[in-house]
Symmetry: C2
Subunit: 306 residues, 2 copies
């Protein structure tokens, strides 16, 4: 199976309002709730691709119970979340139906105790035995050591499982130094890591900091990869309109599933770009539209970069 | 005891953000959760005044469980909420720390089944036996008949308990016709009921529609009452700055507690105005500040109106 880690899982709540008016009162016309956090999103896309997948991380309190209940209804994802006493965060996305724009509110995560962190490490080590690849995704909740991802990368390496790390800030900086197989920063995360806003030099700089491969998300322009086998740009055939929420998580699922299937780099990038595009095009945030996936897959343009 | 009814109870969630920017992503710096819905707010203020009080209505799902858990920690309020299968609504108030303004999102309520409504009516009838007064507060959740408040007013009258009805729209229109002891509309609710935006004629018109007394909230200008004993204006000594959330619920608690204590109309209005002002002045929305209450109580100006 593929193992995804979401230390700061979330209950993602979406509110639809006819029009967002700051400092006014709104009747919410529709409420949806989904299990969230980047690694859980990645797990759901992997399951949609037919890969056996296990999701771990923390879940606690009423929101955590709901995350687990909703996850149990997601076909194909095995729940290996570790309980915590404090409550899992909620995120509230307010969709303005007039403009289609989203205003997002993210609660801080639960405070993880040292004993809970130890319990997680024990569970993670046990899960690594059956893992063909590992995705380490998202922010660290309070209480988890800032060097956590470096520890998790090393443990996976020792177990022979390649790791994709998708996080930001200091957690990314420390995790990269532990030499993960891949990182997948966006432009802002890459700039924070390297100090450069030039995608190609910054992507190559990030590789020198320890990642075996760096795949930078360029938003609607696709992906830019610097690897031991070469560098490529991969672009969708056209800009797709829709909701970009979860597009990055779908790219992670594409890269990791293609790695496990033994595909080469250009094929991995085609899959990641097509899944991202299919996620932007899907009516529900974070889902991917299978028809768009098949359609875009045939027309992603991959170009070698010198 | 005093019985408060909150058919559409709520889990009131407050998010503080440094500054609200529409269509941006916000890290929430602080999250607070309170049991809410107008009748539950009234119950908490009544308990703060030392009155024995029981809260009924519906609670269901994870949010309903949290409402009950938090209510259990509110000293003095007896929980007589009736379970429902669907989930209690949440309200999310986003406080912009730069301006102090609040942007509010209210979920729709749970869908109440006919069997749940029957179970509520049975519980309500049983509770009326021990009730010295009843507050019927707030909106009706989906599934509850629009004439619900008329039914509840008549049952209380039959049990000899005076009723204060605080709602709006069609629920108010139908409830008024059942002749409650008091209604407490604000200007907008009164205009919707009577078609008039002139407070004094509209207040008197609302009395002719069935309520024995009508107490109209004039916001920072206080209250205007039309009763069988006369008409009065009651105004706070000065405008208080703060958060008006819950000020109307505190006025309801003031009117009802004073009725039960046998106070006359001018004294009831003094208490209601002082409690409202003390709620606006309190640091936490919906609480009342006891010092402001004592201070304002001595200086509310009550004027007879011809």
């Amino acid at each position: 199976m593929i193992l995804t880690v979401t230390l700061n899982s979330a209950l993602d709540v979406t509110y639809r309002v006819p029009r967002l008016r700051p400092h006014a009162s709104h009747r919410v016309s529709a409420v949806t709730e989904r299990p969230g956090g980047k690694g859980i999103n990645v797990a759901r896309v992997l399951a949609g691709l037919g890969h056996p997948v296990t999701a771990t991380g923390f879940a606690g309190g009423p929101a955590g119970a709901l995350v687990r209940e909703l996850l149990a209804r997601s076909p194909g994802v095995v729940d290996a979340l570790v309980p915590c006493a404090d409550t899992t965060r909620r995120t509230v996305a307010v969709v303005d139906e007039a403009s289609g724009d989203t205003t997002q509110f993210n609660e801080p995560g639960p405070l993880i105790t040292p004993a809970e962190w130890s319990a997680f490490l024990e569970r993670y080590e046990a899960l690594l035995a059956g893992a063909r690849a590992v995705a380490l995704c998202g922010s660290l909740p309070p209480g988890v050591p800032v060097g956590a991802y470096a520890v998790l990368v090393r443990a996976a390496r020792a177990a022979g499982a390649p790791v994709l790390l998708d996080t930001s800030g200091e957690a990314l900086r420390r995790g990269v130094a532990a030499r993960p197989e891949m990182i997948k920063p966006n432009g802002a995360e890459l700039a924070e890591l390297t100090g450069s806003r030039e995608p190609l030099p910054a992507t190559r700089d990030a590789r020198r900091r320890g990642a075996h491969a760096v795949v930078t998300s360029l938003g609607p322009d696709g992906l830019l990869a610097a690897t031991g086998q070469g560098s490529w740009r991969a672009a969708p055939p056209r800009a797709l309109s829709g909701n970009p929420t979860g597009a990055g998580d779908s790219a992670v699922a594409g890269l990791l599933s293609a790695l496990v299937e033994g595909l080469d780099w250009p094929e991995r990038l085609v899959r990641a770009v097509a899944l991202s595009a299919a996620t932007v095009a899907a009516p529900t945030a974070g889902e991917f539209d299978p028809r768009t996936y098949e359609e875009v897959r045939g027309s992603v343009k991959v170009t070698a970069v010198q």
